[in-house]
Symmetry: C2
Subunit: 202 residues, 2 copies
């Protein structure tokens, strides 16, 4: 996973680093919407002037791009790690992909929340949607491979199963609270158990 | 399910009825965000003047309230219909609730999409979130009852199972397309099959 690509020359103003600016910006984007957030709002949130913010970043869109890259890089790395597990079955790789995706989603929850709300209203958003679509296609292929080897039921269209599976994973951003009663590993186990074995008692 | 409660005295302008105004407003709210949509935008979308819109509705918030009521009334009716099935088990009622929820979500997709994006930024939104929370609690109770009767596995916390189950249901709003290759009944069957029996081949 790569670091968010913020303007490298503008580091080191005492009090705030670019990482802090990015975190606060992501929180504001999630709270009041990207379009409803100005650079002035981000500055006010940090107790800075607008020109002090421009010491850290060149535009609001740079912050959005860094946030979306963070989410997409994490999800891509998780999927690639699962796909590189070539000693097991497609089913093993799929189950690992589900587990890893839950962990990334929880570790990068604000950035992933922002990613999942992107509607394609700017070139940065369109590029993020394209990367997201490529991930979704790889996941659907993995589900189809697990169906083909006989490990996953074949009475559901694989594309539909894939959407429901990762719809369940992605729904975490709406309700998971870090520091709450349920930790990431418990959630990842529960998602995989429910998705693959189902809720019905055996 | 009740009709959206729009100002009753202002009906009947030729060309557009309140229902059309509401549908277009919901689409705009979903596309560009409620806060990012003005009454002027809604008027422009319909090719009307702002004052012509005020012939139909007294405020933007009235349209939001009508949309959120539509979604919540539908989901409440679906859940109540399932809970009134007293001849079966809690598991039967839960499975019916999942089925009915999927159908409501697909039938009222734009209004439910709006509901699921509400963050509590106004009294209307706070009231909608309270109604939504009450529904979530009833659903969690139903999952707990199905666990208690031994039909649903007891190794997942019922509150977590409930969140994942309806997280999967709600994720439909993000990708389901009316008129696409998968109809509502197929989706409802797939959601229930995956949630209760799991993806793993038997």
């Amino acid at each position: 996973m790569t670091e968010p690509a913020l303007t490298p020359a503008r580091r080191g103003r005492p009090g705030y680093d670019q990482e802090t600016v990015l975190r606060r910006a992501i929180d504001l984007f999630n709270r009041q919407g990207y379009d409803g957030t100005s650079v002035g709002d981000i500055a006010a949130e940090l107790g800075l002037t607008k020109s002090a913010i421009y010491h850290h970043v060149s535009s609001k869109e740079e912050l959005l791009a860094a946030a979306l890259d963070e989410a997409l890089d994490g999800l891509t790395a998780a999927l690639n790690a699962a796909l590189e597990q070539t000693d097991g079955s497609a089913y093993d790789r799929l189950r690992t992909a589900v587990h890893q995706s839950v962990e990334i989603l929880i570790r990068h929850q604000p950035a992933v929340t922002l990613l999942l709300r992107v509607r394609g209203n700017s070139p940065v958003e369109v590029a993020a949607l394209e990367r997201r679509r490529a991930l979704d296609e790889k996941l659907a292929d993995l589900v189809a491979a697990a169906v083909a080897e006989g490990a996953v039921r074949d009475d559901l269209p694989p594309a539909l199963a894939s959407r429901l599976l990762f719809g369940m994973v992605n729904s975490l951003v709406e309700w998971y609270r870090a520091g709450g009663p349920v930790d990431a590993a418990t959630v990842a186990d529960a998602v995989a158990a429910m998705a693959f074995e189902g809720l019905r008692a055996r």
